[in-house]
C-alpha cells in the first residue's frame, strides 16, 4: 500500500537534531520519475540551513519557470468542453494579474512583484495567472534566506524547515518538466474578477507596512526572521488564505431556478473559501440556498455508469434549519385548513419545478412526473404569456426554493404537544459548580428561554441522590431528594418543576443549593457521575402526556456510575487497558483502539431510542466541572465517549466535550446555544428525488431510518442539525426526463444558454436540458407558536453526461464533508482506522486518476494534475488524516471518539474547520485590516444599483465555476428585483485574514489563534509583550489583535468551540498547537508537499497499472481470438 504502517514519514523537525527525512523516501523505488529526487534533494538542507539548496534543484526550478502564458494552457485542460469561453476568461485573468503586478504600490519594491510575496506578505497567493508567473522570482528569492540563515543559526528551525519544504514544492514542479504542472489551483472566473478589487486593497496594506521587514527594500539582503522563508504559497489552499479582504463587501449568492423556462436550474456554488462560505448573503430565487441543501457535485451525472466511473460520490448535504440570521427566512405560507398542494403519487410538495399544463387544470410533478389534476376549488387560470398561474405573485412556493407551510394539525399528526417547549437541565454537583455562581448566566438563560417562551426544569444529581426543586407558591425553596438513585423516577408532576422563562425562582434555588451540605461536602467530589439517574427522571418528566417531549441538557462531570439496573454504569475501559496486559487480550493496538471506539453496551442506545420515541432530544455536555464550593477545576476524567455518543445519536442530540474544567465560559455558551438554536420539535424529515435517482444511506447524528420507512425522526432539530444523504441511480438508463417538464417556454431564451446546451446535451431531445431535483421536506412543530409546519427545500441541479463537467463543478467542501462523515461512520461501525486512512487517500487518488486518465490524458505523464474544483482535495484529505479523529497516533479514546462524533454531527462548516483549521494573526489582524471585528459591509443600498454601477460582488458571485461560468444575464425585469435583493444587509463581525497552516511564521514576537472547530489555541511567542495581552471578560483571554466580536463570531459559528487555551512558545502544550498545523510534517503524516508527491506517485502507479491491465486485456482478447 502506499501508506505503509508505522511511521512512514520523516520525524518532525526538531531544533538541532535535524529531521531524518530520508528514511522512507530513499527506500522507495525509483520508478516515479524525478519526483523522488526532488523530494530527496532538500533533505541535506534541512539538517543545516547553510548546506541548503543544491544547485540542481534551483536550476531545475529555473528550467521549469514557465512562460507567462503557460498557465493558459494549464487552464485549458480543465475546461476542455468550453475552450473558447474559458480561454477568454483566463486571458482576462492573466491580464488583470499582470496589471496588478505592475501596480505602482508593488513597484516600490522593484520590478518583481513576487518579492514581497515570497517574503511572506499576506495575500501572496494571487489568483489566476499571477501565481505561477511569480514563481520564478520567488525561487530566486530563496537565496536570501539561505544566505541569511547563518545569521540566525537555529533560531527558527521552523522557518528553515519551511524553506526545505518550499524547495520541495519547486522540485515537484520543476521535475515534472512542464510549467504549470501542479496547476489548476488558481481560482477561475470568480477569482479573476475578485482580483479586480485588489488594487484598492493594496493601499492600506502597504501603507501600514504589514510586516515591518517588508517595507524596507533592503530586507532582501538580510531578511528578518518572520519573512525569511520561502512560502510554498502556490500550493492550493482554501481561497482567502494570505489574501486580504479589505473593503470587500459581502458576497451575494443568488440561487435561481427559472420557472417557465424549463428547469434551467442554476446550481449555486460556494467557493471553498471558508470566509466566503460564512459571509455570503444568499438569495433564494427559486432554488434552495446551499446553506440548506447542497450537492457534492454541481452537475449530476446523468447515468449510473458515469457516476460510477467518475469515482465521485454523490450525496446531498441537508441542514434544513441552518442559521441565516440576516437573510430572509423561507416564506411562511399558511395552508390551513386544506393543506399544501402535493403530488398525489409521490407526495412531493408543489415547487418551482412543476409545470402547469392544460390551462392550469393539472400540473406535472417534477419529482415523479405524475400528471396531477388540480382541485376545482384551487384552480387558477394560467397567464397565457408566462404559462404561470395568474396569481403567481402570491404563490410564493412557485418562486422560492425554500418555503415553510403551516399545515392543518389534524392531517399532519400533532402527537399531543400542547405545552410550550420544555428544557430540562440535568447537572451533577461538580458541573453545577460551573453554572450556579454566575448571575449573568441566569440572565442569558432566561433570555434564551424567552426566545421560545420555553420552560425549564432543573434536576441535580449528587453522589447519592437526585435533587429536585418544585416551585412553591410561597416562593420558598423546597428541595425534594430522591435517594433511590438506582430506580429514579419523577416524584412530582411536571408542572411543579417547570420554571417560567423568566426563571423567577432560579436565584433562590441557586442560593439554596450553594448552602446545602451535599453541594459543599467532599462527597460530591467522587470521580463519577450519576447524571443518568437524573436523565431518566427527566425523561419521565418529558414523557408526561401534558408535555410530550422536549430537550434534555445533561451536564456530566465524570464517568457514569449508574443506575446499574438500567445498565447505564460504565467502566473505565481506558484505564483497564493500561493496567491489563494488553498483549494477552488484544492482538494489536489496532484492535484495542477499535474496541475502545465501540460502545461498551447497548443500554445507552436503548435509552436514546426511548428518548427519541418520546420526542425527546438529549444534548450531553461532558465537563469536568469545578470542585463545588471552590474555584478549583477538577481533573479531566474518562467519560467513555464512545458509549455515550450512542445515546445522543439515537435521539438526534449532540455531544459537547470540554477538556478543561475551568472552561466554564465554554460550557455556558454551549448551553445557551443549545437552547437558542432550537428550531423544530417533533420533526420528521424525508428526502425525495427526481425519477432515476433515489436516496441511499443517511448519515448524521440520529437514529438511522428503518428499512420500511425512509423518514428520519429527530425529536428536536436545531440550526446545526444536518445530515448527508447518499444519492444513487436506481435506473440503469439514468435520470429520466420528461419532455413537457423540460420544455422551454420560449421566453427569455438567450443565445449563451442554448450554446451551452448544445455542448452539454446528448439527450434525444436537444431542446431539453434535463435537470435533477431533490426535495427535502421536514414536518415539524414550531417551538414558538406550536403550529405544525412543513419546511420544504427544493434544489434543482443540472445533469451532465460529461466527465469533465462533473469534475469542473464538484463542490469540494461538500464532497470532503461526505468523505469525512462516511469514514467516521465506518470507524464508529467498527472499521479499522488504518484502513480508513488508506481509504481516504484511495478515494482521492481514484478521482484524480479518473480525471487524469480521461480528462487530462494528453498532459505529460510526469504532471500531477489537480482538477480545478478538486484542487483542495489533497489538503482537506491531509487535514483529515491529521485530525484527531483519524490521526495515526495515540489519541485519547475520548478525544478520538468525540472528533469522530463531530464528523457525524456537526455542520459542514465545522467539519471544514476540522479538516482545515483556521489560523489568525492574533496580534496584527486589526492592523492589517482595521475592519476586523466590525460588521462586514453589505452590498450597499438600492440607490447604488440605481446608478447603474453593478455591485462587484454580485457579479462575481453570479458566476460560479460551473459550465455557465458567467450566468445568463438576468432579464431586465428580474435584474431590478435582483438588485434589490442583492442589497445585502451588513453582516456579522468580520473575521481576520486566514493564515496558511505552517509553522513558518511562528516568530517569538508573534501570536496566533488557531482553531479546528473544537480546540481553540492561542499560541504566544516568547517575546510578545505582556502589555499586548489583554484579558477580555467572557473570552477568557484575548489579544489586542482579536477584538471581542471576532471571538463571539467564532463562538457563534462553531458551537462547542472551547475557550482559547493559552499555549506559550516552547511549552509542552505547544505540541497540541503544532499538530494542527497540517501543512507541516509530523511524525505520523507527511507535510502537504510530501503528500502531494505521494498522491502524484499513487496516481502514476495507478495509471501505469491501468495501462498494463488494458494492454493485458487487449492481449488476452487477441489471444482468445486467435486461439478459437
Amino acid at each position: 500500500m502506499h501508506a505503509p504502517p508505522g511511521p512512514p514519514w520523516p520525524r518532525p523537525r526538531e531544533p538541532g537534531a535535524g529531521p531524518a527525512s530520508d528514511t522512507v523516501q530513499s527506500n522507495e523505488p525509483a520508478g516515479t520519475m524525478g519526483v523522488q529526487r526532488g523530494v530527496q534533494s532538500p533533505t541535506p538542507g534541512m539538517v543545516q540551513g547553510a548546506h541548503y539548496a543544491p544547485a540542481e534543484s534551483f536550476s531545475a526550478g529555473r528550467a521549469a519557470a514557465p512562460a507567462p502564458n503557460a498557465q493558459l494552457t494549464g487552464r485549458l485542460r480543465p475546461v476542455l468542453g468550453e475552450r473558447s469561453q474559458v480561454l477568454q476568461a483566463a486571458v482576462q485573468g492573466a491580464q488583470s494579474a499582470l496589471g496588478t503586478s505592475r501596480h505602482p504600490a508593488g513597484g516600490d519594491w522593484g520590478p518583481q512583484p513576487a518579492v514581497p510575496r515570497g517574503a511572506g506578505v499576506p495575500g501572496g497567493q494571487h489568483p489566476g495567472a499571477a501565481v505561477i508567473q511569480s514563481s520564478l522570482p520567488q525561487a530566486q528569492s530563496m537565496r536570501w534566506p539561505v544566505a541569511g540563515n547563518p545569521g540566525h543559526p537555529g533560531a527558527f528551525p521552523q522557518a528553515a524547515n519551511a524553506q526545505a519544504m518550499g524547495s520541495n514544492s519547486y522540485q515537484v514542479r520543476s521535475r515534472s518538466g512542464v510549467a504549470g504542472t501542479v496547476h489548476g489551483w488558481m481560482t477561475t472566473g470568480a477569482d479573476a474578477s475578485a482580483f479586480s478589487s485588489v488594487p484598492s486593497q493594496r493601499d492600506p496594506w502597504t501603507a501600514n507596512g504589514g510586516q515591518q521587514p517588508l517595507t524596507s527594500p533592503g530586507q532582501s539582503t538580510s531578511p528578518p526572521s518572520g519573512a525569511s522563508k520561502l512560502s510554498p504559497s502556490d500550493v492550493p489552499r482554501p481561497a482567502g488564505i494570505d489574501r486580504d479582504y479589505i473593503d470587500r463587501s459581502r458576497p451575494v449568492l443568488v440561487c435561481r431556478h427559472e420557472y417557465g423556462r424549463g428547469t434551467q436550474a442554476e446550481t449555486p456554488s460556494l467557493s471553498p473559501s471558508f470566509r466566503e462560505a460564512v459571509d455570503t448573503f444568499q438569495i433564494d430565487r427559486g432554488n434552495a440556498r446551499p446553506r440548506y441543501v447542497r450537492w457534492t457535485v454541481g452537475s449530476v451525472p446523468r447515468t449510473p455508469d458515469l457516476a460510477r466511473s467518475s469515482g465521485i460520490p454523490l450525496a446531498v448535504y441537508v441542514a434544513p434549519f441552518a442559521d441565516a440570521t440576516d437573510e430572509k427566512p423561507p416564506p411562511v405560507i399558511d395552508t390551513r385548513p386544506h393543506g399544501p398542494v402535493r403530488c398525489s403519487r409521490c407526495q412531493a410538495y408543489l415547487n418551482v419545478g412543476i409545470r402547469y399544463v392544460d390551462s392550469g387544470r393539472s400540473f406535472i410533478c417534477n419529482l415523479c412526473h405524475h400528471l396531477n389534476a388540480v382541485d376545482v376549488d384551487r384552480f387558477v387560470p394560467l397567464d397565457p404569456v408566462t404559462q404561470l398561474p395568474v396569481d403567481f405573485a402570491n404563490r410564493l412556493e412557485l418562486s422560492h426554493g425554500s418555503v415553510e407551510y403551516i399545515v392543518p394539525e389534524e392531517v399532519y399528526g400533532h402527537q399531543g404537544r400542547t405545552s410550550e417547549p420544555v428544557f430540562v437541565l440535568v447537572a451533577d454537583a461538580p458541573s453545577l459548580g460551573s453554572l450556579l455562581p454566575y448571575a449573568a448566566f441566569r440572565e442569558l438563560l432566561a433570555e434564551s428561554l424567552a426566545l421560545h417562551r420555553a420552560r425549564l426544569a432543573l434536576i441535580v444529581t449528587s453522589a447519592g441522590c437526585l435533587h429536585l426543586f418544585p416551585i412553591q407558591p410561597s416562593g420558598s425553596v423546597q428541595e425534594i431528594i430522591l435517594p433511590d438513585i438506582q430506580e429514579p423516577f419523577l416524584p412530582v408532576p411536571p408542572t411543579q418543576l417547570l420554571q417560567s422563562p423568566d426563571l423567577e425562582y432560579w436565584p433562590a434555588i441557586a442560593e439554596y443549593i450553594q448552602r446545602t451540605d451535599w453541594y459543599t461536602t467532599a462527597e460530591s467530589e467522587s470521580p463519577g457521575s450519576h447524571i443518568f439517574a437524573g436523565v431518566l427522571a427527566a425523561a419521565e418528566l418529558l414523557e408526561d402526556p401534558s408535555i410530550g417531549g422536549g430537550k434534555i441538557l445533561a451536564i456530566s462531570s465524570g464517568l457514569s456510575l449508574g443506575p446499574h439496573r438500567a445498565g447505564l454504569a460504565l467502566r473505565n475501559r481506558w484505564l483497564e487497558l493500561d493496567t491489563r496486559s494488553s498483549h494477552q487480550k488484544w492482538k494489536s493496538s489496532m484492535d484495542r483502539e477499535r474496541w475502545l471506539l465501540q460502545p461498551a453496551n447497548d443500554a445507552f442506545a436503548a435509552l436514546g431510542k426511548r428518548l427519541a420515541d418520546a420526542q425527546i432530544t438529549l444534548d450531553l455536555f461532558l465537563h469536568p466541572g469545578m470542585f463545588p464550593g471552590t474555584a478549583t477545576p477538577r481533573p479531566l476524567p474518562y467519560f467513555d465517549l464512545a458509549t455515550l455518543r450512542t445515546l445522543t445519536e439515537h435521539c438526534g442530540g449532540k455531544l459537547f466535550y470540554y477538556q478543561q474544567g475551568r472552561d466554564v465560559a465554554g460550557l455556558q455558551r454551549d448551553l445557551i446555544h443549545a437552547i437558542r438554536a432550537v428550531r423544530a420539535l417533533e420533526a420528521v424529515l424525508r428526502v425525495r428525488c427526481s425519477p432515476g435517482i433515489t436516496t441511499g444511506e443517511h448519515l448524521g447524528s440520529f437514529r438511522p431510518p428503518g428499512t420500511d420507512r425512509p423518514d428520519i425522526y429527530i425529536p428536536v432539530m436545531s440550526t446545526s442539525t444536518n445530515l448527508y444523504v447518499a444519492i444513487r441511480h436506481d435506473l440503469s438508463e439514468g435520470i429520466v426526463t420528461h419532455p413537457l417538464l423540460h420544455q422551454r417556454s420560449g421566453t427569455g431564451d438567450d443565445a449563451e444558454a442554448s450554446a451551452a446546451e448544445a455542448h452539454a446535451s446528448t439527450a434525444a431531445d436537444s431542446a431539453v436540458s434535463p435537470c435533477v431535483c431533490v426535495q427535502v421536506a421536514v414536518l415539524f412543530t414550531h417551538p414558538g407558536d406550536r403550529t405544525r409546519r412543513v419546511r420544504v427545500h427544493t434544489l434543482a441541479a443540472p445533469c451532465t453526461t460529461l466527465l469533465g463537467q462533473l469534475f469542473r463543478t464538484l463542490d469540494v467542501t461538500c464532497l470532503m464533508g461526505w468523505l469525512a462523515r462516511s469514514a467516521a461512520a465506518r470507524v464508529q461501525a467498527g472499521g479499522l482506522l488504518p484502513k480508513l486512512r488508506d481509504h481516504l487517500t484511495e478515494q482521492l487518488v481514484d478521482m484524480l486518476f479518473v480525471y487524469r486518465r480521461y480528462c487530462a490524458s494528453r498532459s505529460s505523464p510526469g504532471q500531477l494534475i489537480l482538477p480545478e474544483a478538486l484542487k483542495l482535495g489533497p489538503i482537506y484529505t491531509l487535514g483529515l488524516l491529521k485530525s484527531a479523529a483519524f490521526r495515526a497516533e495515540q489519541v485519547a479514546p475520548d478525544e478520538r471518539a468525540y472528533r469522530l462524533h463531530q464528523f457525524m454531527a456537526s455542520s459542514l462548516l465545522s467539519m471544514q474547520a476540522a479538516m482545515h483549521p483556521l489560523m489568525f494573526d492574533a496580534l496584527n489582524s486589526t492592523v492589517l485590516d482595521p475592519m476586523v471585528g466590525t460588521p462586514i459591509p453589505g452590498t450597499g443600498v438600492v440607490s447604488r444599483e440605481a446608478t447603474g454601477v453593478p455591485s462587484p460582488s454580485l457579479v462575481s458571485w453570479n458566476s460560479p465555476a460551473g459550465p455557465r461560468a458567467i450566468a445568463a444575464p438576468p432579464s431586465a425585469a428580474t435584474s431590478e428585483t435582483d438588485a434589490q435583493l442583492a442589497a445585502a444587509p451588513d453582516g456579522a463581525a468580520k473575521l481576520p485574514p486566514l493564515q496558511a497552516l505552517t509553522s513558518e511564521r511562528l516568530g517569538p514576537d508573534s501570536a496566533w489563534l488557531l482553531l479546528d472547530g473544537w480546540h481553540c489555541l492561542l499560541w504566544i511567542g516568547e517575546f510578545v509583550n505582556p502589555d499586548q495581552q489583554q484579558s477580555v471578560p467572557g473570552v477568557y483571554a484575548g489579544l489586542a489583535g482579536l477584538p471581542v466580536p471576532v471571538m463571539e463570531r467564532l463562538y457563534a459559528l462553531f458551537p462547542g468551540l472551547l475557550s482559547p487555551d493559552m499555549v506559550s512558545q516552547r511549552s509542552p502544550a505547544e505540541q497540541t498547537f503544532m499538530q494542527l498545523l497540517i501543512e507541516d510534517r509530523m511524525s505520523y503524516a507527511p507535510s502537504y508537499i510530501e503528500y502531494l508527491v505521494t498522491l502524484h506517485k499513487l496516481v502514476q502507479r495507478k495509471l501505469a497499472s491501468n495501462e498494463a491491465e488494458k494492454q493485458h486485456r487487449m492481449l488476452g482478447e487477441w489471444e482468445w481470438a486467435h486461439t478459437y
Binding site: Q478, I480, I481
Partner: protein
C-alpha cells in the same frame, strides 16, 4: 350470694370467667366455657401503692417477690409459690422488721409497680404518616389537627412526618435552610436495610441490620451518649417538638396536596403500604428498642404499590365480605402479606401503629388489622377529617395525665407465670407473641396467641385489656390440697411515657373447688366477663373461620353450658331455669349473635375489622356495651331508668339514650318530638320538658367524654331516618309479621321493626328446647 366482680376488678385488674376452678382437667372441660381472665395491665387501682423506687426481687425463673411468697427474713430466703424454689433475698432485706415490710410483701398490695433501674428512654417518638390525596377542605383540617397534636404532646416528644400520595415523602424537619424531603417510590417496599443508606442513616446501620443483639448494642450506645442528648442519626427526620415546632408549622402550612392529576375515572394513587413500610423502617433505623408510635392519617384506600387493596380504576369495587369469602378479592392476599410483614417488623422493633381512617369509603382496615392489633395501636374510623369522630378521637389520642405525661405508654411486655396445675393457653388482645417458652406454657392447647408466656404490646394505655386463657392440666390422680391456691403472676414491663421503665407486678391467688360442686362453680361465673371473652374468642376465630360456623359454635357452647348448669327436667322446656349468676348469659349471647361483631351482613370488612379490633382491647364494661348496648329511658314521669333493649321500650312520650359504644343515639319519642317542635321547652312553664330534652344529652356527653374512639353521635326523632341506629339494636319483639300490628294503617300504638330476625323470646325458647333435649 352474688359476687361483685367489678369490685374484684378494682383489686388487681382482673376479671375471671370462672372465679373458682375445678381441680382436674376433666372437670374443667365440663365447664364448657374457657378459663380466662380479662386482664387490664395498667388499670389504675385505688389501693395500689405508689411506684416503688427500687427494682423487683426476682427469682431465677423471673418470678417476682410477692405477698404470696413465704419469706424467711432471717435466713434471707424466699420461696416462689410457682416453682417452689428457694431464692436468696438481696442484702438490704436482711434487717427488715416485721412491721415494716416492703410494699411488695404487704398482703394487700398484690399489685405493685417498680421503677426499674434502667436509664430512661429517650422521649417517645410519634411519626405521623399523612395522606395528601384527601380533598382540599379536609386536608386543611387534618393539617390543623396535626399542629394541634404537636401542642397536645409533651414538649420533649419527638415527632417526624411522612407524607404520601402517589409517592411518599420523608420530611427532613431537622433541616432549617429550607424545606427538604426525601421522596421514595410508592410502588416499592422499603425495609430498614434498604432505607438506611438511602436516607443516610449511617449510624444506625448496625442496629438495623443485625436484629436483637444489635438492638441491645444500640441501647448501650444510647446509654453511653446520654439518653436525652440529641440522637445523632435520626435527628434529621425526628425532632423534639420544642425544636421543630416552627419548622413543622411552616412545613404544614406550605404542604400541598398530592399534585399528580387524578383522571376522572380513577381513584387518587395512594401508596399507604409503602409509606407504612418506610415509616416502620425509619423507626427501625432510629428508634429500635424504644417507644415509638406511627400515626397513619389516611383518607382513602391504598391503590398503589405494596398493600394495594383496590386498583385505581373506579369501576373496580372495594372488596366486600362476600368477595372475601368467595376468594374474589384479587389484592387481598398480597396486601395481607405485606401488612403482616410490616407488623412483624414493627413488633420486632417494639413500635406501634395507629390508623385514623377518614373516608366514606373503606380504607383497608381489614388488611391492616394485623399491623394495628399486633402492635397495640388503635383504629379510628370516621367519615371525614372534618368529622368530630376524627377530631375528638385525635385529641383524645394524645391525652395526658395530670403530670403532663401521655396516658399512652410504650413498649410493654406482658409476662405471665402460673402454678403448675394449669398452663397458659394464649392471649387475645392487642399484642404479639414474644415466643418465650417456659414451664407455664401449655403445649397442647392454644387459644388466641399462644405458645408463649410473654407478649409484646407496642402501645398500652390504662384501659387496654387482654384476655388470657388458661388450661387446667391437673390430672385426677394429683389431688390438690384443700387450702391450696392457684397463683398467677402478671408482670408488665413498659416504657412509661415519661421515659422511665417500669414493671407492674400483679399476683393473683384463686381458689380451687371440686369439679362437681356446680353451685360454687356457677357462683364464681362472671357472665359479663364470659360474654366478652366469648365475643373475643369468636372475633378471633373470624380470621380463619366462616361466620356461620362461629355462630353455630357459640350456640353449641351455650346449649352445653345451659345443659350443664341449668336446672330442668328432661324434655320439659318449661321447667328450665338458670341460676342468677348465669341468667343473663343467654341474652348476651343473643345480642352478640346479632351484633356487627359477628354479623357481616350490611357491614363492610373494614367496619368488622374496626369493631373486632376494639372489642379485643376494651374493658369488660365497654365490651358489654358493644355486645349489648345500654338503653336508658327518660320521661317526665320517672327518673332515668335502664329499660329493656326491646322494641317495646320505644314509646312516644319518652326520650331514649342508647349507648352502643361506637355510637350513641338520643331518641325522642314522637310526642316529645312534637312538643319540641312546637317549642314548648322554650317556655318557662315547661322547664321540665326542657330538662327532659337536656338531661339525656348531658348524660351522653359525659358518657362519651371518656370514650375512645369518639362515638358517632346520633339524635333522632321517632320515625326519623336516623332512628334505624336505635332500632337495629333492639330486640325485635314486635315486627311487621307480628299479629298485633296493623301494618297497613301504620297507626300502631307500639313501635315495630321490619325484620326477619328472630326475637329474643324465640331464641330463648329454642335454647330451652335444645337444652332439655340434650342428654
Amino acid at each position: 350470694m352474688s359476687i361483685d366482680f367489678a369490685q374484684l376488678e378494682e383489686v388487681d385488674g382482673t376479671r375471671w370467667t370462672w372465679l373458682f376452678w375445678p381441680t382436674t382437667k376433666a372437670a374443667a372441660s365440663q365447664c364448657v366455657l374457657p378459663f380466662a381472665c380479662l386482664f387490664t395491665p395498667l388499670r389504675p387501682l385505688p389501693n395500689m401503692p405508689p411506684p416503688l423506687p427500687y427494682p423487683p426481687v426476682t427469682s431465677r425463673e423471673g418470678t417476682v417477690l410477692n405477698p404470696y411468697c413465704s419469706v424467711d427474713i432471717n435466713a434471707r430466703m424466699w420461696v416462689c409459690p410457682f416453682t417452689f424454689q428457694r431464692n436468696q433475698l438481696p442484702p438490704q432485706y436482711a434487717s427488715i422488721p416485721d412491721n415494716q415490710l416492703p410494699s411488695e410483701l404487704i398482703p394487700e398490695y398484690t399489685v405493685v409497680e417498680y421503677r426499674l433501674n434502667r436509664p430512661p428512654a429517650p422521649p417517645p417518638a410519634f411519626l405521623f404518616v399523612l395522606d395528601t390525596t384527601v380533598p382540599e377542605k379536609q386536608f386543611t383540617v387534618v393539617k390543623e389537627y396535626l399542629l394541634k397534636a404537636l401542642s397536645l404532646l409533651p414538649p420533649g416528644t419527638t415527632v417526624g412526618l411522612i407524607t404520601y400520595g402517589q409517592h411518599l415523602q420523608v420530611h427532613e424537619i431537622g433541616f432549617t435552610e429550607g424545606f427538604r424531603s426525601y421522596i421514595l417510590r410508592g410502588n416499592k417496599s422499603y425495609d430498614a436495610a434498604s432505607l438506611q443508606p438511602l436516607l443516610g442513616l449511617g449510624g444506625a446501620s448496625a442496629a438495623a441490620g443485625a436484629g436483637a443483639s444489635a438492638a441491645a448494642k444500640q441501647r448501650a450506645d444510647a446509654t453511653a451518649a446520654g439518653a436525652h442528648s440529641k440522637l445523632a442519626p435520626p435527628d434529621r427526620f425526628l425532632q423534639p417538638i420544642q425544636e421543630c415546632e416552627y419548622m413543622m408549622a411552616t412545613l404544614l402550612e406550605g404542604l400541598q396536596r398530592d399534585a399528580w392529576p387524578v383522571p376522572a375515572d380513577e381513584r387518587p394513587k395512594r401508596c399507604t403500604g409503602a409509606a407504612l413500610a418506610a415509616a416502620a423502617a425509619l423507626l427501625e433505623c432510629t428508634y429500635r428498642g424504644y417507644g415509638a408510635h406511627i400515626c397513619l392519617l389516611q383518607g382513602g384506600p391504598c391503590t398503589e404499590g405494596p398493600g394495594t387493596i383496590v386498583g385505581p380504576k373506579l369501576d373496580e369495587e372495594l372488596r366486600s365480605h362476600i368477595d372475601i369469602e368467595k376468594d374474589n378479592a384479587p389484592h387481598l392476599k398480597k396486601a395481607l402479606k405485606h401488612y403482616d410483614e410490616v407488623a412483624t417488623r414493627l413488633v420486632n422493633a417494639g413500635h406501634a401503629l395507629s390508623v385514623f381512617g377518614c373516608s366514606l369509603d373503606q380504607v383497608g382496615f381489614y388488611e391492616m388489622k394485623a399491623c394495628v392489633d399486633r402492635t397495640g395501636g388503635v383504629f379510628v374510623m370516621a367519615e371525614s377529617f372534618e368529622h368530630d369522630m376524627f377530631k375528638r378521637s385525635f385529641e383524645k389520642f394524645f391525652e395526658c395525665d395530670e403530670n403532663g405525661h401521655l396516658k399512652r405508654h410504650f413498649l410493654a411486655t406482658l409476662e405471665v407465670d402460673c402454678s403448675r396445675e394449669f398452663k397458659i393457653a394464649g392471649v387475645i388482645g392487642p399484642s404479639a407473641s414474644l415466643e418465650k417458652k417456659g414451664p407455664s406454657v401449655s403445649t397442647d392447647t392454644e387459644i388466641g396467641i399462644g405458645g408463649t408466656c410473654a407478649w409484646r404490646i407496642g402501645s398500652i394505655s390504662p384501659d387496654t385489656s387482654l384476655s388470657v386463657f388458661f388450661d387446667v392440666v391437673n390430672q385426677q390422680s394429683n389431688g390438690i390440697p384443700e387450702n391450696h391456691y392457684r397463683y398467677i403472676q402478671f408482670r408488665t414491663t413498659y416504657q412509661h411515657s415519661s421515659g422511665e421503665f417500669r414493671m407492674r407486678v400483679a399476683t393473683h391467688a384463686g381458689r380451687w373447688c371440686d369439679g362437681n360442686d356446680l353451685v360454687t362453680l356457677a357462683a364464681g361465673f362472671d357472665q359479663e366477663a364470659a360474654a366478652v371473652t366469648m365475643a373475643r374468642l369468636a372475633a378471633f376465630r373470624t380470621e380463619n373461620e366462616e361466620a356461620f360456623d362461629i355462630l353455630r359454635w357459640l350456640d353449641r357452647l351455650l346449649i352445653r353450658l345451659c345443659a350443664r348448669f341449668g336446672d330442668y327436667q328432661k324434655e320439659r322446656p318449661e321447667t328450665f331455669r338458670l341460676g342468677p349468676s348465669m341468667s343473663f348469659y343467654p341474652q348476651f349471647m343473643y345480642h352478640l349473635r346479632r351484633s356487627a361483631l359477628l354479623q357481616t351482613f350490611n357491614t363492610s370488612p373494614d367496619e368488622s375489622a374496626f369493631f373486632r379490633s376494639h372489642l379485643c382491647r376494651v374493658s369488660t364494661a365497654d365490651g358489654m356495651l358493644m355486645i349489648q348496648p345500654s338503653l336508658i329511658q327518660y320521661s317526665l314521669e320517672s327518673a332515668p331508668t335502664p329499660v329493656l333493649l326491646d322494641v317495646a321500650s320505644v314509646r312516644p312520650d319518652v326520650v331514649l339514650f342508647l349507648d352502643a359504644f361506637f355510637y350513641i343515639v338520643i331518641f325522642y319519642g314522637d310526642t316529645v318530638a312534637q312538643w319540641r317542635k312546637a317549642g314548648y321547652h322554650l317556655q318557662p312553664n315547661y322547664r321540665n320538658l326542657a330538662e327532659l330534652l337536656e338531661i339525656p344529652r348531658r348524660d351522653a356527653a359525659a358518657c362519651i367524654a371518656a370514650r375512645f374512639p369518639y362515638p358517632r353521635w346520633v339524635e333522632s326523632d321517632q320515625y326519623g331516618s336516623q332512628a334505624r341506629f336505635l332500632l337495629a339494636k333492639l330486640n325485635p319483639s314486635a315486627t311487621h309479621t307480628s299479629g298485633n300490628v296493623d301494618v297497613l294503617s301504620g297507626s300502631a300504638a307500639a313501635e315495630f321493626i321490619y325484620t326477619d330476625d328472630v326475637s329474643m323470646e324465640i331464641f330463648l325458647e329454642h335454647l330451652r328446647r335444645a337444652t332439655v333435649a340434650t342428654t
